[in-house]
């Protein structure tokens, strides 16, 4: 036969396959695999892009380059070459004076048009909360200010503020500034003006402490190349920040969401892969007879193999097309749903998802189908004359090996991580091995204890020992995945909830003078505001480690820059909230402690410090030296005030300090904090509720996404169960026909089938619960970094759910067993 003939020949058989339902389970598994990979791919792609864009709001850009010195022009040149959108801002502290000659330290931000490149400023007029005409950038000669400054200096719409040598008209009130949260401790009230006014105001003298920032936004790949370029060309003097290294809370939420989606899609693909493996094996077994007949009539082995391969290729193509369409609609529905949550049009998905979906189907069918198809092509022709020529002899090692390699690539397509995929595949192989081993033992044990009543069912299990073990492993894998996704999902969602505790503070107050502390506490008490604590804050520069100056001349610029940085230190008798000692010991809490430091563990690890080392900080011109007594782990997600370096009171109590505090208010920010600035001159209250809300909405959206992807995993799990049930159908039909011919009643056989599946399901559920516990623990611990709690329900749900679910599925899948008349069954399988 030539190829077109073969194609036609295979096409005819394929049409029949489709009609006869021969490929039903295989097609279903393939469609689910392709649809879920495609949908998850499309979906994570779009959501990922949307989430990244939201995270980008927090930088007001996709990429930032910031420096204490004027930025080299080459950055702008390069960014424009790459076609990026650009903007600049320059921030520095300064003093403003109002019409009544009252002055206030402010954080000035001069911006060019285009700022913010991502996210948006929320502006109102000062007098009325009505929607003002939108403005892009402060007009020349005007400034925008925030609520704090309005309160402190009692400013009204159109008032004049003097900044340096120039007067400005106050035109807008900044209600929300997307990148304000980038540095929560930049606490002075905000004044925003046009970059072109900056020179006229003569604010930036040669010695002023300004931060120059270049903002960039654009497509992923030019942003990536820009980032690379920045890192290799200007990194020594410029700090580069991209979306991915933005705020820790958001970043964590993003990574967790991506990990979970990744995990869910890997599990989905693994399950679908298992279903495909079972179905394709089943298909090949069915084709052994046809192969023998064809070869008797003169077909060569190659022709038979091509015939089978073509049919499989056709089903892959058909299932892929259907799967992609289904996947597309699935993500469309979801995108519509999420559109309302995201305050933006979701970015369009890339073309990769369907490609990966099709590739997944192809690899799975090729990997799991290759050996069975070759085997079917080589089956002994004598089968046509003598049934007992099984002839299906291929090396188990080879089949397993190819299957494992295929699984690896399928997982790799999802995870894009060589090592992780290897670990996952090794885990799955080990797990299936254990399932098979224990399955065999347990089936034997059940046989030993089963009474006469269940003998028929258990005997069935044992008669089909081989396929029973395969089924058991498949059931266990399906149930395990379902249990696992269920626990991990709940755990992850709960952990997200916990990320922002309900009592998380939404107001920071800084710059409280020592003599204001008691009065301020009293004030808060009067307003019924609960404060966890008021903490001293001492500004310091790191001067020496173990007596060696960190500011030595020969050190490179990066180290110098790090050393020049100012840190906020605090001192305390008690361990600060949201902290935990990981090494060393906390000092005496009764005030008798010797001088010493407690350092945040990662901060110390970066610098290579050890317990017992001495650190010297320069504080207001004085060197303070003390040994490191302990390392602390700090929960930065708690939103509580926290510090990298804490000293014992004896270390810092004599140093000049201001005090900071944080607390939660339920009332309106400006009315609550309105009077404070006048009552306690100098203090500044900062509203961080808005920023927290953004983090919270992001997490809500991410968890919704997680719930959705979970659906696909459930479908794939069901598909495995189906394929496993289906795989013994032929055998069962023959067997039950025989039993009925020998006089077993319809009832007896039904009971036997259901009981057999119930036993299988219960055993599978038990094994699954065990593995789900182990894997959930490992995942929580190493991947999601969450505490794991043992869950007893898992076992109950696993065993009961397994027994009930599998017997129902088994009953429906094999009811043909009961409806096929014995004569027909026996004749067709003679």
């Amino acid at each position: 036969m030539n190829f077109p003939q073969q194609l036609r020949f295979a096409g005819r058989a394929f049409k029949r396959d489709v009609k006869a339902g021969e490929l039903r389970v295989l097609a279903l598994a393939l469609i689910i695999a392709v649809a879920s990979v495609t949908a998850v791919g499309f979906f994570t792609d779009r959501i990922g892009r949307a989430m990244e864009r939201q995270a980008a709001d927090i930088l007001a850009a996709d990429l930032l380059a910031t420096s204490g010195l004027a930025l080299p022009e080459s950055i702008a040149t390069r960014a424009i070459e790459l076609g990026l959108d650009t903007a600049r801002h320059t921030r520095f502290p300064s003093v403003v004076v109002n019409q009544d000659d009252e002055s206030q330290l402010v954080a000035v931000k001069a911006v060019t048009s285009g700022y913010p490149l991502r996210g948006a400023l929320k502006l109102t007029t000062l007098d009325a909360p009505t929607e003002p005409a939108p403005l892009d950038t402060p007009a020349l000669g005007t400034v925008w200010i925030d609520v704090q400054l309005k309160n402190i200096l009692a400013i009204d719409q159109g008032d004049t503020l003097t900044l340096g040598a120039k007067d400005f008209i106050v035109e807008r009130l900044i209600q929300y500034e997307p990148d304000r949260g980038e540095n929560v401790f930049e606490i002075a009230p905000r004044v925003m003006l046009n970059m072109d006014d900056l020179e006229a105001s003569q604010l930036l003298g040669p010695g002023s402490r300004a931060r120059f920032t270049f903002l960039m936004a654009g497509e992923v790949s030019p942003i990536d190349s820009m980032k690379d370029w920045l890192e290799s060309n200007v990194a020594s003097e410029v700090r580069v920040q991209s979306v991915r290294d933005g705020s820790p809370q958001l970043q964590r939420a993003l990574t967790r969401a991506q990990r979970f989606l990744g995990l869910a899609s890997v599990v989905t693909v693994l399950l679908a892969g298992a279903a495909i493996a079972l179905a394709v094996r089943q298909f090949s077994l069915h084709q052994a007879d046809a192969s023998a007949v064809l070869r008797t009539l003169g077909a060569t082995r190659t022709e038979v193999v091509i015939w089978l391969v073509l049919r499989l290729a056709m089903i892959v193509v058909l299932a892929s097309v259907i799967g992609i369409v289904v996947g597309w609609f699935a993500q469309l529905v979801l995108a519509k749903l999420l559109q309302t949550w995201f305050s933006m049009v979701l970015p369009a998905p890339g073309i990769w998802a369907p490609v990966i979906g099709t590739l997944t189907a192809l690899i799975a069918v090729a990997g799991f189908g290759l050996m069975p198809v070759l085997r079917a092509g080589r089956v002994a022709v004598m089968r046509v004359l003598q049934r007992d020529y099984s002839g299906l002899d291929t090396s188990v090692v080879m089949t397993t090996l190819i299957g494992v390699i295929a699984t690896y690539f399928v997982v790799l397509l999802q995870s894009r991580d060589w090592l992780l995929s290897a670990i996952v595949v090794a885990g799955v192989v080990a797990m299936l091995g254990v399932f098979a081993l224990f399955g065999r033992i347990i089936i034997k044990a059940v046989r030993a204890v089963a009474g006469a009543r269940y003998r028929l069912s258990v005997a069935g299990l044992q008669r089909r020992a081989g396929s029973s073990v395969v089924q058991l492993a498949a059931f266990a894998m399906g149930i395990m995945a379902l249990l696992l996704i269920a626990i991990v999902r709940v755990d992850v969602l709960e952990a997200w909830e916990r990320d922002i505790p309900p009592d998380a503070p939404n107001v920071f107050v800084v710059n409280i003078q020592p003599d204001q502390v008691d009065g301020f506490k009293q004030r808060l008490d009067n307003q019924n505001i609960k404060v966890a604590g008021v903490f001293p804050m001492v500004r310091a520069r790191l001067a020496a480690h173990n007596g060696e100056a960190t500011l030595a001349d020969e050190q490179n610029e990066r180290q110098q820059r790090r050393a020049r940085r100012e840190y906020n230190l605090t001192y305390s008798n008690d361990l600060p909230i949201a902290g935990e000692i990981v090494e060393g010991e906390w000092w005496a809490t009764d005030g008798t402690a010797e001088p010493g430091w407690s350092i945040e563990e990662e901060w110390a690890a970066h610098r290579g410090y050890a317990i017992g080392d001495t650190l010297t900080f320069k504080i207001a011109g004085v060197d303070v030296t003390a040994p490191i007594m302990s390392f602390r782990k700090v929960d930065w997600e708690s939103f509580q005030v926290n510090f990298f370096v804490v000293g014992s009171p004896a270390t810092l109590v004599d140093m000049p300090a201001t005090f900071v505090s944080s607390f939660k208010i339920d009332s309106d920010f400006s009315t609550t904090t309105g009077g404070w600035a006048r009552e306690f001159p100098g203090i500044a209250a900062l509203d961080i509720g808005a920023i927290m809300n953004r983090v919270k909405t992001l997490m809500d959206r991410a968890s919704l996404a997680v719930e959705y992807v979970f659906l696909f995993t459930v479908l794939a799990g069901i598909c495995v169960l189906l394929a496993a049930v289906q795989s013994s159908q032929g055998e069962r039909i023959r067997e039950s026909a025989l039993l009925r011919a020998l006089g077993a009643s319809h009832h007896q056989i039904k009971h036997a089938v259901v009981a057999e599946f119930a036993i299988l399901g219960a055993i599978a559920g038990l094994l699954a619960a065990f593995f789900a516990t182990v894997v959930a623990w490992a995942l929580s611990r190493f991947v999601f970094e969450l505490p794991y709690e043992f869950n007893g329900w898992l076992w109950i749900i696993g065993v009961l759910g397994g027994a009930v679910g599998i017997s129902i599925a088994g009953y429906f899948a094999t009811r043909r067993v009961l409806t096929t008349p014995p004569v027909v069954a026996l004749r067709n399988t003679a």
Partner: protein
């Protein structure tokens, strides 16, 4: 497709009158069973002339199907040789033997062995397609008509009765005008009435087309319709 097929073609095109279409000499078949080596066929000789019909009878388990398989090149003997259509099967590998059969050897089995994936017509077309014969569909249709199943052409094997399935199998066996036909208990799964119809059909087609026939059967009357009868016993064939 390969050289041996070429030579097989020419041999089949001009069969020498004095060369048997099928012959086996000193055929020996042993298999390793659970209780050691079991010899099923003992230095057995057989020759089938052009257009000759021979019947092989014998008790169950005597090795009839084993012999048929070896003669048809479906299995290889432990020792000895088989010549089919002028080719020594020992010189051919499995695929070459298959090529040799394509379109020139027909089969009818006890269990029908229609491909469940194909309808009646497509099943009949198989040998023509495998031997690259043109007009496969027309010729198959004609053949189906001859066995009286033209109206069932698009039916699936499972939608046909046992007798109808076997008629399709007979049509499939003769459609390519084979030089040689093998039949293993063709009526074994059918009631005697249907069995008669099938054997009538087989013998009339055989006569019409001049195919040689090797028939394994338990049915004495069926065996009597053949030119010669051979009995299988103790791994040898004896004339009856």
């Amino acid at each position: 497709m390969n050289n041996s097929t070429q030579s097989a073609d020419s041999a089949a095109a001009q069969p020498l009158a004095d060369t048997p279409v099928l012959s086996g000499s000193q055929i020996e078949k042993s298999i390793s069973g659970p209780s050691g080596l079991l010899t099923i066929l003992h230095s057995l000789d057989i020759a089938v002339d052009n257009s000759e019909a021979i019947a092989i009878v014998g008790p169950s388990g005597s090795g009839k199907s084993t012999l048929l398989g070896i003669l048809a090149g479906l299995d290889t003997p432990t020792s000895g040789s088989v010549h089919m259509l002028g080719e020594n099967l020992n010189d051919l590998d499995e695929d070459q033997r298959a090529r040799l059969r394509a379109g020139k050897v027909g089969f009818v089995f006890q269990s029908f062995q229609l491909l469940p994936g194909l309808n009646a017509l497509e099943n009949v077309m198989l040998p023509l397609e495998l031997s690259n014969t043109p007009d496969a569909s027309d010729r198959a249709m004609t053949m189906l008509d001859q066995v009286g199943l033209a109206d069932r052409a698009t039916h699936q094997p499972l939608q046909l009765s046992g007798g109808e399935q076997q008629r399709v199998a007979v049509a499939r066996a003769f459609v390519s005008n084979p030089a040689l036909l093998f039949a293993d208990e063709p009526t074994g799964n059918l009631d005697s009435g249907t069995g008669h119809k099938i054997s009538d059909l087989m013998f009339s087609l055989r006569e019409q087309l001049g195919s040689a026939l090797v028939l394994v059967t338990h049915d004495e009357t069926l065996a009597m319709r053949c030119d010669r009868r051979l009995r299988m016993g103790d791994g040898k064939l004896t004339s009856v």
